[in-house]
Symmetry: C2
Amino acid sequence: MRPADELRDAVDEYLAALSFTSDLGELTETMRYPLEAGGKRIRPVLCLAVAEAAGGSVENALPAAAALELVHTFSLVHDDLPALDDDDERRGRPSAHVVFGEGVALLAGDALLAEALRLALTYDASAVARELVDSTLGMIGGQFRDITGDDSDLASVHRLKTGRLFLAGVRMGLETAGVSESERPPWLAFGDEVGLLFQVVDDLLDGDGYVERLGVDGARQLALECADRARAELDRVDADTSVLRELVDVLIVRTG
Amino acid sequence: MRPADELRDAVDEYLAALSFTSDLGELTETMRYPLEAGGKRIRPVLCLAVAEAAGGSVENALPAAAALELVHTFSLVHDDLPALDDDDERRGRPSAHVVFGEGVALLAGDALLAEALRLALTYDASAVARELVDSTLGMIGGQFRDITGDDSDLASVHRLKTGRLFLAGVRMGLETAGVSESERPPWLAFGDEVGLLFQVVDDLLDGDGYVERLGVDGARQLALECADRARAELDRVDADTSVLRELVDVLIVRTG
């Protein structure tokens, strides 16, 4: 089992070497800018770690993992636009639309989504592409609820906006490893818990969301419960899940 | 062979009955607004007419045809945003972003693209989805060249921005009809000519593009030459292509 930091390096290398459609011309420069800003690559690492724990290969899961990161990056580029969150900075650098202009950033986001699908379609079976599309639609549904203020059920907004891509990472990892449907439930339940855990930790770092709802101590308590439930799901799996446990530990450490 | 207006009715009915992912919630209202504005449905009709002429069924080609119209509609919704063309009207009605706000229109465009892919992935083979993604990327590349002023080669901008979706209509129609690669060249050459013909006719109606480049008479001449070449390609096909000829005639009549 490769540790999480090696998996992250594998994702970074794969993304750096990724070719985009030549028809896009210099738009690819705007697409690479947010993609190369780094970040934790937690969604693709989760996908690779699940694939390897489930008996698949990291190499075979890399296109699926990278596709997931492209979808995540597309959502950040569009989210940062003035029409949505109007964020001028992302990861300590000017946002894509500040550097390249709003119109070009909008098109770069569109192209990142389409390239993600192109990558998912490199598999013979279409299950990976289907999962990527379904989770993207769920994420967009969550973004819509978020901006229209329909957040009466915070958990359901986050389950869509953040959770769907985490769950997709697990599903696509299982798919590339050839895990049958009947064996998937504990893995998927683990994916749900990790998605929620990530969101709660993110809110603890930003002081919003669950912190506003539950207070700092309440949010920390929720994060610990999520981590416990995630580990309990891994206990139900007959596999070496050490790297997945490491991911949970890394997330929980960030809660302070 | 069903005539073009019957094919258009079939597209309209299919789109009106189309279900979107429930996770999208009320965002589907914003997605349906531009989709129900009508329009000529020329891309999906082309797809259906090719499928039927090539020995396939309209029913089997309808998801591909509708997916193409969703991609076209996504591109219109994003194009109309202030970040790009800043058009407040579309087909005589306020644009989506005027009615629903910029942020919601942006997300609705994203969701239309993802739903298009979801629809293309309902086929067992992934060739339809691959073609849809490739043509979408080509179209985005054309939009990028268009807004960045790199239109030194007008023909190449239009081949991407407009032509790729026309060609995709032909390709996807052939795919759903099971036409082999070796039989496709004349059909695809026809698709290229129809895409260019549509663009020239559009420019004649708007008084821009090829009209600025060639003058009204020059553009009309180019349209007639495209139509002749399109018909000549159909002559090379051993099939009843009467409906495709009808589409060419309808386009050419619009040049006045």
